[in-house]
Symmetry: C2
Subunit: 336 residues, 2 copies
DNA sequence: GCGAGTGATCGAATCGATTCGACCGGAAGG
DNA sequence: CCTTCCGGTCGAATCGATTCGATCACTCGC
């Protein structure tokens, strides 16, 4: 048995002739190679990285941001012989708050693809199981790796640019506040109920610039259609904002489309800025003014951190820079 | 040990008090519950379904078609306690033809998300390992489950409609022919080199309608930008086709955008039909004329077939119907 | 009061590979 | 010629849970 093991794994000394004899015998007996389950048990490693996406898979995959990060992750993990197990994140409040896979599946490391909330049930489940975890865009935990970006400062920066262009009446369109996916204007009570770290941070970016938005509009997901309905609600009235800061590019693109539906010109009548720096082929020849984040690099950084954790090294957090991309959707405030 | 096992699994008779005692002891000892690896080895089941996407993950995830099918798959598999392991399909010819995960990873069933070629190395690797496999949109294999759609008939149908509207000069824009991702006009030699089952079948649909396309344009992937470049190439000349049949909606949308860039009106100057029946929010208010396939249902059918195979039942193939959706991008041929 | 029956608990084999140490034969060196 | 060393092979323990059958305590019925 041990010789057969060596023949297949190639680790350790084995004569070429013996190896061949083993391989031939395997062929004759219809043995298709070592059973991964046995190997995994013995090694104590499954070779699997659980990636918990921030939503039902359907929605998560419609978001180019998740996709690009996921691609960066897999392209780093693949060559290391690690596989990615997809796990759905929290979505419908009717579902159990934690996917059974989080409790039951074999994985060496977990990646949470969204910031999560302050005390996330998924995160606690992972900690209970003792599975090292990498958070994408979460808040700093002392003993957990967090791969983030300078989104707060980036949003503050682009907001200041708008101020410099004479905008005084600025609205903001945000990502979801909680898992319950409501849509609409945010009042003080709702603002207190804000649970998602990421949404809060980007909102704080606007405040950091010294802006008190004339309206905060919450969307149930980062999708074009929700941006469009935000535009219909925010830009229809007579004293509409002259600029809209959006927490994602998809929302911003939706706001632009919605504004045009209302007969408004972008950026002459209203300026729209987004976040992410996506390349949207169907948006051409326009280019969103946006805060670009290095999405694929973020994924690769996650992959590298996963590798570090597997080596047994202590968690290490990392913040990636963002870059302001000045496109065609923002300009000076209209003169009254 | 056996009692502890019963306490955690809940299968078999155990007194509530004993159970609680075991759970308390586990807590005290810092035991976080059964190790999945041990359970999997014993059960002989990993609870994992390997899903091989038809491309590098990045490209596959930009394709709403894969996404929706994948979503259907996961939503069926999740409640059955099965996890989805993502595996990249064949992409750059420089990479190894078969992802190492296909050879090494533990999985109970595999799903190939694209038709593949007649003798696919991935498929043979899976058969060698004895892993039951479900093919999405492949060609009929005797002992393999194939979940397909009536795409050939659907394309033939929509092509006949175009004939009925007076179109005689019809071009077609296709999905890739092989893994080498070339782009451009297809000549006889290239037509012979066609390896992808799915592309061939949809092309045959056009032929079935009795149409000999004036041009066949191969794209390297189902993306809007490739449709746009096809349009630039096919529609620039004076004797351009009056209708373009595309093998996907993303390509069709790209053709429409490209045609407009050239100053053409759709459908007045040129009719464009697609395939898939996607809902593209950014394409509104236009609606693609398309052959709609039930994407989520296809995914669910895959999930059900996976379940069947796990039960040990013999492979069973299934063909889902398609439906012609008459949108705003196709109309009568222009009068000369 | 004793045997049958029942429900809970425990022993031990098993899944399949890995890996350390023991062992063996042959070659090189003294 | 004997010892030492070394590359190659083989035995056996181990990873962690599941599960069948055996055992045990206890109750019920006669």
């Amino acid at each position: 048995m041990s010789t057969a093991s060596l023949a297949f794994s190639g680790a350790g000394p084995i004569a070429a002739a013996t190896r061949q004899r083993v391989l031939d015998a395997a062929q004759a007996l219809g043995y298709a190679g070592p059973n991964p389950l046995g190997r995994q048990l013995r090694r104590g490693r499954s070779g699997i990285v659980g990636v918990i996406v921030g939503d039902a898979l359907r929605r998560a995959f419609r978001d180019p941001v998740s996709i690009q990060v996921l691609d960066g992750i897999t392209s780093t993990l693949g060559p290391m012989g690690l596989g990615v197990l997809l796990i759905a994140g929290p979505h419908d409040p009717t579902d159990p708050p934690v996917d059974p896979l989080v409790e039951l599946a074999a994985m060496d490391v977990a990646v949470m693809m969204w910031g999560g909330t302050t005390d996330d049930p998924v995160l606690s489940a992972l900690r209970r199981r003792g599975i090292p975890t990498v958070l994408v865009e979460g808040s700093r935990h002392p003993d957990i790796s967090v791969i983030g970006i300078a989104d707060r400062a980036g949003i503050a920066d682009v907001t200041r640019q708008l101020l410099g262009l004479g905008h005084t009446c600025i609205a903001t369109v945000t990502l979801p506040f909680t898992n319950d996916r409501s849509e609409g204007l945010v009042d003080a009570a709702r603002l207190d109920a804000l649970e998602w770290e990421l949404t809060r941070r980007r909102l704080d970016g606007v405040f950091d610039a010294g802006v008190q938005p004339v309206a905060i509009w919450e969307t149930p997901a980062s999708l074009v259609e929700h941006g469009a309905s935000a535009a219909r609600a925010l830009l229809a009235g007579p004293d509409r904002p002259t600029a809209v800061v959006c927490q994602s590019d998809l929302l911003a693109a939706g706001v632009v489309l919605g504004a045009r539906e209302l007969g408004l010109q972008v950026p002459q009548d209203v300026s729209v800025v987004g976040f992410d720096g996506l390349d949207l082929p169907w948006f051409k020849p326009d280019v969103l003014t946006s805060v670009a984040q290095p999405l694929a690099e973020k994924g690769r950084a996650v992959g590298r951190e996963v590798a570090r954790l597997l080596e047994g090294e202590p968690p290490q957090s990392l913040d990636l820079p963002v870059e302001l991309v000045w496109g065609t959707t923002a300009g000076p405030a209209p003169t009254v």
